[in-house]
Symmetry: C2
Subunit: 458 residues, 2 copies
Amino acid sequence: MSMVIDELKAALGEKVSVNETIREHHSKDESFHTPTLPEAVVFATSTQDVATTLRICNDHRTPVVAWGAGTSLEGNSTPVRGGVSLDLSQMDKILRVSSEDLDCTIQPGVRRKQLNEYLSRDGLFFPVDPGADATLGGMASTGASGTTTVKYGAMKQLVMSLTVVTANGEIITTSRRARKTSAGYDLTHLFVGSEGTLGVITELTLRVFGIPEVIAAATMQFDSVREAIDGVIEAIQLNVGVARIELVDREAVVAVNRHSGTDLPHKDLLLLEFHGSAESTALDIAAAREVLERHGGQGFKQTTDEAERRKLWQARHDASLSCRAHQPGGRIFSTDVCVPISRLSECIEQTQKDLAESKIYGPLVGHVGDGNFHVLLTADPNDHAAIERLEQFHTRLVKRALSLEGTCTGEHGIGIGKIDYLVSELGSEAVNVMAMIKAALDPNCIMNPGKVIAETVG
Amino acid sequence: MSMVIDELKAALGEKVSVNETIREHHSKDESFHTPTLPEAVVFATSTQDVATTLRICNDHRTPVVAWGAGTSLEGNSTPVRGGVSLDLSQMDKILRVSSEDLDCTIQPGVRRKQLNEYLSRDGLFFPVDPGADATLGGMASTGASGTTTVKYGAMKQLVMSLTVVTANGEIITTSRRARKTSAGYDLTHLFVGSEGTLGVITELTLRVFGIPEVIAAATMQFDSVREAIDGVIEAIQLNVGVARIELVDREAVVAVNRHSGTDLPHKDLLLLEFHGSAESTALDIAAAREVLERHGGQGFKQTTDEAERRKLWQARHDASLSCRAHQPGGRIFSTDVCVPISRLSECIEQTQKDLAESKIYGPLVGHVGDGNFHVLLTADPNDHAAIERLEQFHTRLVKRALSLEGTCTGEHGIGIGKIDYLVSELGSEAVNVMAMIKAALDPNCIMNPGKVIAETVG
C-alpha cells in the first residue's frame, strides 16, 4: 500500500492525504455500520485526477471507494476493504444550465441545496429531495429518490447522461444531451444505483424543472394507516396532481412535535404538496381533499406561505433526527422496503404489529405514493444485543415486503447490509448476471468491494 | 445447422418450421435493408420454449433473432447471420392487470392495440404509441417511444420489470413489482433498448394510466418551423400540460391531405393533444394557445370528438405511408435523429435546406416536445444509386445532429445501419464498455449478431 500512496503522491501531490483525522472522517456514513479507515484519501479536482487514481489503484489492485457527503444510510461509502477513499466533494462546479432544454450539467460533488440555490436564479429547480444535503454524485450512485418521486421521478428518471471513469481509468460518456435516445445499451442507468462498484461518476447531466407558480402544502389526519393509504391509492388512480404525499405515523408525529416544536394532532398524518398554476393547484387540492375525506381524512389544512411550508417539510425531514433524539449516542439503523401500493397498508400494519410485539420503538414515515416507507430505528452501535434484535426485525420486514412483491430497498441501495437480501429478492440467476457485468467492467474488483454483490458470487 | 434443427425439433416438435414462406416472412422488417432468410423459425409459446431454444443454439453457436410483429425500421429483427428466428407472436397473453397499482404483466407478443383494448375495460391505457401496431416485446427491445413521450415517457420510463432468457438459457427477473427500487444494478434498463443482443424478453411488467376524463386534440398552423418550435419550447418551459405535440411540416401536410382525405392548410402544422379533467384540459388548452399564438400560431382548432380526433391522429400516423405512396414499390429509409430542443429548429432548417439542395423528396414529421424528428424517405431497394444518395444524406443528417449534441436515434434503435454512428456518437471507449457487457452475457455472440455493436469491437 505504501507504494500505491507514493505513486498517488507523485502523480497528485497534495491532493493525497494520509492524515488520521481526514481518514477517520472518511471511515463511516450516517448508518450504524462499523467504521473502517481508508489507508489514504484522494481529493480529486478533475475527471483526470479520478482517472489517474483509478489507473494507479487498478495496477496495484487497491480498493477505491468514492466519497461525496457521507450522508448514505447503508454503509455505501465506507471503505470496508481499506484502500483509497476518493473524495469528490471539491468537484462542485455547476458547468451549465439550459432553461430552454430544462437540463444542467454539474460535477458530482455539487450538493442538492447548492444546486437548487443556483438554479433558482433562472426560475428552475431539481426536484429529487432525499432530506439530507447529499451530493448529486452520491444521489445518482445510490439511486436516491425521496419525497417528490410521485410527481417528478427518482434519480433514475432524471439523470440524462453521465461521465464515468471505469476501473481501468477509461473516461466514458454514457449518452448525448437529447431528451431521449435508443442508441446502444443504456449505460446511464447501469451506473445510476450501482453504488460506485462499476465506475466513478465525474459529471452528471440532469433534467430540471421550472419552479411552479404556486406551491401549496396541506395536512390531513387519519384514524388509521389503512384509511390514509386507501385514500392515497384512489388519489393516484384518479391522477390527482400531487407533488408530494407523505405518511407520518402517529408515533412519528409525537416525536416530530417534541423535536421540531410543531403541534400536529396525535394521529396518522398525510403531508401533501401541490405544484402548478393558481388555477390548477386549486383544482388539484379540491380533488385530493374530496378523495381523502371520503377515506376518513380529517382536519384539512393548507398553506402557500413559504415559511410555514418550509417548517412543515423540515419537520418531516427531521423525523429521523427526532427519533434519534430518543436515544442519545444512537445511530441510524435504516429500513427501506418498498411494495406495490396495493400491498402497502398490509405491509405497514403487519410491521407495526411486529414492532409492538417485539417491544421495538419504531416510528414510521413513508413516501406512500411510491409504496416506500422507513421504520426510524436507532441503536447504540456498541450494544450488540440491540443491533442483533433490530437485525432480526429487519429480516422479518424484508421477508414480508418480498412476500408482497416488494423490494428490500426503495432508495438507499444495498450497501453492506443487504447483499443477501438482494439474492432473496431477485434470485441467484439475476445476481449472477450482475456479477458477470461487475467482473467484465472491474476484473480486479477494486471498485467499492464488499458492496451490492458478494465477492464470491459469479 | 441441420443438427441444430433436428435437436430443436426433438425438443419442440411442430413449433419448429423450415417452411420457405414462413422463413421468408421472417427475413425482413419495414425497412429498406436487404432481407436475409433464417434457416428455421421457432414459434415459442412459453418462457421454457425460449430457454430450450437458446440452450440448443448456444451449444451450437447458432444465431437467434427474436421476432415480434416485424414492424421495426432499422432491420432490428432481420437475421443477418442466418440461424433461428425466434417468433414470440404466440406469447400474446395479458397475465394480470392492477388498477390499484396501475401496472400490468404481459407476454412479449401482446400488441399495442390489443393491450389497450383489454386495458380499456378497466378504464386504463398504456400510452406509448409508435404508430405501428408493434408487439410490446419489440417496443421494449428497440426502446420505442412515439407521440406521447412528452407527457408519459418512453418504454424506458414505463417498463418496470422484465423476465429475460439469457444466451445460456438462464431465466432471470430484473426487478420486483414495487414502483421504485435501488436493489442492485438496473438490469431492466440494460435489456430495454438492447435489441435482443443480450437476451430475449419473455414477460414485461408495465406502468399503465387511467384513461383521462377528457382527451382534446388541437391543430395550429405556422409560417415557419422555427416559429412553431419556439412556441413548443416556451410551452414546455411553462410546463403546459400537453400529452402530444407533433410537428408535420408543409411538405408532409400536402402528402397527408392527398393520402388521408384531410384538408389541412398547406403550412407547417402543430398537432396537439391534452389529457385531464374538463377543467384542467380547458386551462391547458388556453395556456398552450396563448403561448403558440404569441409565436405566430394561426387557425387554432380543437375537438374532443372521438371520431374526429382519431382521424387526425390516424392521418399523422399515416404520414409515412402517405409519403411512401409517392413512390410505388418503395420501402422506408428511416431517419430518427433527436437533439436538445433548443437546437431543434436549427437542425430541421439545415436539414430542409440539404433536402432542397440534394433534390431529395423528404417530408418531415417530428415529436418536437422531445426534439426527435423523422425525414420520411422512401427508396426502391434495388435502386442502388438512390439508396447511396439517401445514405449520404443520412450521414450528413446524423453528423449535423451529433454536432448539435443530439443522437442518431431517438426511438428506432441502432439496428444494422447505425453501428458506425453509435461509435461517432458515444466514442469507442463507451462502445467498448457495451462490447464488454455483450461479451460477458453472450460469449458465443449468438444473440442477434450484426446489430448495435460491430462484432470486431471489444
